[in-house]
Amino acid sequence: MGRIISTLRWGMALAVLMAPSVALATPLVIDDFEGGSNKLNGHSNTYVQEPSRALQVRTKELAHGGAASLMLKYDKKSKGGPYDGGGWCGYYTQVKSGRQYFDATGYTKLTFWVKGAQGDESFMVGVADRHWDEVGDSVKSEPIGKYLPAGKVTTEWQQATVPLASFFVDVKELATIAICFEGACFPTGEGKGTIYLDDLTLE
């Protein structure tokens, strides 16, 4: 079994190496959180299933660039709700516009700035293409610490860099980018905190 997985990994690595080169696009700021909506005409909001909850406020209390950032408060529970799983919570922003999915060909990574109110907050990044959009879910990254220079959220601004390739989605038809407070982010399956995000960008 291990050999099969190992072979698969090498196969994927070769596939990446042999993939035709794609012209890189100039960075695209999806949202700098200065206005009421993102820059691609898409809606943004929290998603919640009780008993978990989340709150989003475009705040001028803190900002990395400009005058405002996104404050996300989360309270992920581990018990109660559907299947006693504690429900779910997070934040999404649509990159599709109406029926028009977003073609992210030429972009290789998603970047944004993040800091925590206390430090050690955690979440995953979710990305949905047309398929995942239709089922109302997204493909999750690993916990955000993996993509941060300090290895975890701190009370200082850090830039997160998440490779788009890690999501295995059809980048030609992106629908949504999400911040997901998954139970797997927290040792006990539940967590509560506040994070600030700024300058969500495709590069």
């Binding site: 909506s37 005409n41 809606h43 406020v57």
Partner: protein, 399 residues
């Protein structure tokens, strides 16, 4: 400035001017919009007479319309920099009652990559009014455009004798297939005469309106003034509902207005022992997205009765309640007006918390329900959704 420098394109007898460095220039004119997708089904008449940029109209006598290209009055640009060209001129006479009239501009294009349509407008006397609609190649065949509301939704002070820019997010046109747009429609739904000019129709990939920011800045959303359209300020449908033998008639009339101008909502009801009746204003798109009321804390409206002493329930429905065709009632109007409804205007403020455990992320409607047997008339005006302040949002989270 030469025509060449402006990249003008002669289309349908009009010079569609493309400039750079002006407010006009941040979109593309109609001639640069992709055409209809190949094999788009079109009637023979649509193929023969449908031409991009064509203007025209429709009317049932004695209502009338006029539509032509005017090379004497046109928008010269924010700084007067545009060369001479022609503007669209529309004229209407809307007779009272059923006889209708409207005008159109044929687009015949794929707008799916655009987010906003803009144009400049100027009235001959000011105060001209119409509802804006769109036809795709399907709805055009059944003559059933999707309307998004009055021009006042986009120009709160209305059309004046000065050129003003109208900015309409294309997402407002929920329903039409934006990849197969046939026409923009101007429906003259208010009795009277008017003449106005339209110029510089342009399409933009950017969403040029930040409505959340506007609402946040003013602290409320003015959901309905009942002045100019049967649609509310979200572009959603409103109407009376009834089950016989109970009945309710809703009309927008001057006698129901609060203030010196406009109209208000007149509800004439006769609630019998059986059946039900009332009025609703939708917050959701039919078969589309529901409305997120979580940033709001209360609804407010003005009310007076024809005789005084009228009573009704105030209800709201989220997605689930809308599905079963009912609503959760916050309570009787008397609960919010200690002296009850009188013949004098009073403001009713209902905290959303009074509606209990609705899913405020997916709201469907606001309801006035006549529950008590009897007949009467009430007048409503200026329905507001009052937003929470940032402090209130954070306080609610902590609680």
């Amino acid at each position: 400035m030469t025509r060449r420098a402006w990249g003008g394109v002669l289309l349908g007898g009009v010079l569609w001017v493309i400039g750079t460095g002006s407010a006009w220039a941040d979109g593309v004119p109609l001639d640069q919009v992709p055409g209809l997708p190949a094999k788009t089904p079109l009637f023979t008449a649509e193929q023969q007479f449908g031409r991009r940029g064509k203007i025209g109209g429709f009317a049932l006598k004695p209502s009338k319309f006029g539509a032509y290209w005017d090379d004497k009055i046109w928008f010269s640009g924010p700084a007067g920099e545009l060369p001479k060209h022609s503007a669209i001129y529309y004229r209407y006479h809307k007779a009272p009652g059923i006889p209708f009239c409207g005008t159109y501009l044929l687009l015949l294009g794929d707008l799916s990559q655009y987010s906003t349509v803009t144009f400049w407008i100027k009235g001959k006397r000011g105060g001209e009014t119409f509802e804006i609609g769109m036809n795709d190649t399907v709805s055009n065949k059944r003559e059933d455009a999707v309307f998004v509301g009055s021009i006042y939704r986009y120009l709160p002070r209305g059309i004046t004798t000065q050129w003003q820019r109208v900015v309409i997010p294309l997402e407002d046109f929920f329903g039409p297939d934006l990849s197969r747009v046939y026409s923009l429609v101007f429906n003259y739904n208010e009795d009277g005469d008017g003449e106005f000019w339209i110029d510089g129709v342009a399409f933009h990939k950017q969403l040029l309106v930040d409505r959340d920011a506007e609402i946040k800045a003013q602290g409320y959303l003015l959901l309905d003034t009942f002045d100019h359209s049967d649609l509310n300020a979200l572009g959603r449908k409103t109407n009376a509902y009834k089950r016989l033998p109970s009945v309710c008639l809703a009309s927008r009339v001057p006698e129901a207005r609060h203030g010196a101008a406009g109209r208000g909502l007149k509800l004439e009801y006769e609630k019998a022992a059986g059946g039900w009746c009332g009025y609703y204003t939708l917050l959701n798109e039919i078969d589309g997205e529901y409305y997120d009321l979580t940033p709001y804390k209360a609804i407010s409206f003005l009310v007076r009765g024809a005789a005084g002493g009228e009573t009704f329930e105030i209800g709201m429905a989220d997605k689930n309640w809308l599905t079963i065709g009912d609503s959760v009632k916050a309570g009787l109007v008397e609960h919010y007006l200690p002296r009850g409804v009188t013949t004098v205007w009073q403001e009713v403020v209902v905290p959303l918390a009074d509606f209990g455990k609705l899913d405020f992320t997916q709201m469907g409607s606001l309801v006035i329900n006549f529950h008590k047997a009897g007949r009467g008339t009430v007048y409503l005006d200026d329905v507001l959704l009052i937003r929470k302040s940032e402090e209130e949002i954070l306080k609610a989270w902590d609680e």
